[in-house]
Symmetry: C2
Subunit: 135 residues, 2 copies
Amino acid sequence: MTPSTETPKLTKNQTLVYKALKSAEEPLSAYSILDQLRDDGFRAPLQVYRALDKLIEFGLIHRLESINSFVACRHPDCGTHEMVAFAICESCNRVIEITDDAMASNLASLARDNGFSVSRSTIELRGLCDACRVH
Amino acid sequence: MTPSTETPKLTKNQTLVYKALKSAEEPLSAYSILDQLRDDGFRAPLQVYRALDKLIEFGLIHRLESINSFVACRHPDCGTHEMVAFAICESCNRVIEITDDAMASNLASLARDNGFSVSRSTIELRGLCDACRVH
DNA sequence: CTCCAAAACGTTATGTTATTACATCCGTTG
DNA sequence: CAACGGATGTAATAACATAACGTTTTGGAG
Ligand SMILES: [Zn+2]
Ligand SMILES: [Zn+2]
Ligand SMILES: [Zn+2]
Ligand SMILES: [Zn+2]
C-alpha cells in the first residue's frame, strides 16, 4: 500500500512485465503475463511473480484481490493517497482507480470507531462502467 | 452480495460447514474446513465449495477475497445493508464486520461520479484490532 | 403412495494461482 | 581480483478452485 520512494530503475524482467500490464486494456493474471512473455524467455511463474512483487513495491502496479489479477497504475498520484478504490467493470473488465481523501478518512475513522486501526485496504467495486451500461 | 430471503433449511453438508465456521475464531480456508470434516465423511474439495456457495447465497457466511477464506456472519443484520466492510486483524486474525449506510452511499456516489455503477463490493481492511494493538 | 424433476451428493480428474528450494549469474564495492 | 547482494533460471510442490459425470435424496403433483 505504501509505495517506496526510490527511483524505480527497472530490471529487464520487471520492464517486460510492466510493459505487458501498461499495454493491456484489462487486468492480467500472472499466468497470462507468463504466456505473453514466453518469447522473451520467460519459462516459470516465479519470473513473473518476482517482477510483480517489485512493481507493487515501487507503486507502479496494483493487485486486484477479487480477480487474482494485476493492473498498471494509471492514477496521477496514487502514492499520495492512503486508500485507493478500484471499480472493475464486469462487462469490459476495465478498471477505474478512485481516490478521495474524505472517503479514506471516513473509512479509517469508521474502523477506529469499531476498535480497529487500519494499515492497508482492499476496496474493489464490481459493476458496470458508463460505456457498458448504455450497451 | 444480495442474500436470498428464503428460509435457510440447511442440508447435512451445509450444516457441517456452517458449524465449522461458526465455532472458529478466525476465517477458515476451504481446505482447512475439508481437513476438519474428514471424520464426517468429507473427501473432496467440492463438497466444501458447494456448501460454501449455498451458505453465501443464504447470507450466512462471507468470503474474504484478500485471504482466500470464509467467515460466519456475525453481524445482526447484514442482509439489510448494501455494503459490508471487513476489518481483518493481522495479529489475531479475527474479523470485525462494519456496516454504515453513509459510507455505503458515499462510496456508491463517488463511483457514480467516476462513471461507474456499483453492483457489489469487496471492502477488506487490514491492520490491528484494539486488543492486539495494546499488545 | 407413486412418480417425476430438481437439488444435493460422491468421486475423479483437471485447471488455476502462488510459493519453496536451490543453484547460478552479474554488477558494485573495496 | 574477491566478496557481496540483488536478480535470475529452473524444478518441484503447495494452495485454491472447478469441470464432468453418474448416483442419491427430497419434495411436490397427481
Ligand atoms: Zn494507482
Ligand atoms: Zn465496461
Ligand atoms: Zn455479515
Ligand atoms: Zn487482533
